[in-house]
Symmetry: C2
Subunit: 319 residues, 2 copies
């Protein structure tokens, strides 16, 4: 008899839900906006409502093994989201406790397992993607922020308090740009969707370089429009990808020096830019690597479908 689980991917913009079977098939999925919620209780009530909806869709409710959640700054040990810079909810959010209580009240005492969204993607890559036979790898997710999941000897690294794997919040330019986390020069403040937008706005403001981006209203400048412009040879847009790649390369090279992986998988919206990102990224990455690692680390785009990777990874947690 097939077993089931529910995987949830909490992102800064949207929250995706999937009812998944043990073979990784998504039976039913749905999505809600994350950024429209400002009170975590109202948000988690809505999350629970959608879980209950998916439970009702399951061919055999008794065989649901649990709920898996991937979330920014997710704490695996405590089941909390803590100080996530890209969410509207401030402080420590007791996600596991809150949702388990509601589900229990509704007659479904299911266990909730929560981890960092990038750790969930790394687990998805291990189980369903390109990392099936890779024991040491890093998963980098380029979304609203920059997440990462570190796998050593086939196991996700959680560290002492469940927060290991924050390559996005390593500092690569100590006197650099302010990050959402309050410090300066994190990888995330340059190499995320919000980071590349900041770079474009800075270059528009501080240079005279001609660019079709200048004619766009600020809210339309972002990963997609910068990509379209770069494809047409727009100098500012190309420079945006160059800076994104350079800062990410230093952060990745530092993570390599610490963990010595075989492969780095890249995943998320910005990777759709293909060579515009990957060519400068490979160049700067090799330049930034400590000599013993040069020409040894493979950079690969994730094998997983972007919409489902984090949901599948999260869904694998209860199994």
């Amino acid at each position: 008899m097939k077993k089931y689980s529910i995987g949830i991917d909490i992102g800064g913009t949207n929250t995706g839900f999937g009812l998944v079977d043990c073979e990784g098939k998504i039976i039913e999925s749905l999505s809600i906006s994350t950024k429209n919620y400002f009170d975590y209780k109202i948000y988690l009530d809505e999350v629970a409502k959608n879980i209950l909806f998916l439970i009702e869709k399951c061919p055999n409710k008794e065989l649901i093994q649990g709920i898996g959640i991937g979330a920014p700054n997710g704490n695996f040990y405590k089941g909390t989201i803590e100080y996530a810079p890209n969410l509207n909810f401030i402080g420590i959010i007791p996600v596991k406790e809150y949702i388990e209580r509601i589900l229990s009240e509704k007659g479904f005492p299911l266990k909730v397992t929560l981890t960092n969204d990038a750790n969930a993607a790394a687990i998805g890559e291990m189980i369903y993607g390109g990392a099936k036979n890779v024991k040491n790898f890093i998963m980098i997710t380029l979304g609203t922020g920059v997440g990462s999941g570190i796998v050593i000897d086939g196991k996700v690294v959680y560290g002492n308090d469940g927060f290991a794997g924050e390559v996005g919040h390593t500092i690569v330019q100590p006197e650099g740009r302010l990050c959402g986390c309050g410090r300066r020069g994190c990888v995330e403040t340059y190499s995320s969707a919000t980071g590349i937008k900041k770079t474009a706005l800075e270059l528009i403001r501080e240079t005279d370089t001609k660019s079709c981006l200048r004619s766009l209203p600020e809210e339309e400048i972002g990963g997609r429009s910068i990509y379209e412009a770069a494809k047409q040879g727009d100098k500012i847009a190309i420079k945006c990808f160059d800076i994104t790649a350079k800062m990410l390369a230093v952060g990745m090279a530092n993570a390599v020096a610490i963990t010595s992986p075989e492969v780095i998988f890249l995943f998320g919206g910005l990777t759709k830019a293909g060579d515009l990102l990957m060519i400068p990224l490979k160049k700067y990455f090799e330049e930034s690597l400590f000599v013993v690692f040069k020409n040894k680390i493979e950079l690969r785009l994730s094998d997983l479908d972007e919409n489902n990777a984090a949901i599948l990874g999260a869904a694998a947690l209860p199994f």
Copy 2:
């Protein structure tokens, strides 16, 4: 019956040898200069000669379990030293193979186990020092270079090719000072014994600040003289420790973001400066930490005797 092993600590300046019993008692030790050798074969012949000398000193030669070596850029999987910036030997040095052959020819077919010198110190700290009950920690060694050993879930992290744990060669200032490894802005080029000397020489050259260091010949400027001057309130000397601390703090905070340790142990010559290093280091470290890690990570000086930690750690490898 007591078992024995021989531990060897290869440093940029000296190579220390110890005949050690299974309880961590050093029965006989000796030291040779590393930096006086330029041909690795002549050096390894001398290393083998000293191993044979210690074998002869052992109360029961049959109970020697093997040879453990801690070395800069030591590759645990291959038994090689590869491209170590602080050694005179260029390229890949087949230490394990070379020494095992000599010992075998002399009638002692002992197994040689080699690891990074800082990994050896981390093992020493786990077995004989302050990390006995700590499952997740980082050992930072401040010597000629900056080494590090990363322990996750009680195991030293070697990574895919045996080179994990190079916090000293993470980049904290991409356009910064040239490092011995050929790149710019590594932690090591600021926060090692050679790094603090470079800082002092720079400050002497580029500022007008009064300093007793100005009257010293260049070869006498180093960790010890800078420490003595700083104790007397010398502004340049104090600034040297401040810069050393600041750069190390960023590298440590980045390593925390990736591995989430409970404690960071500090070890080696520069730690003898005590508060002159540790007060600014703690301040910059907390400032540099990602919010979820603030006020959670303990900074501790190593419990181990500096002269013996790496030898004891190396000696623990064959057991």
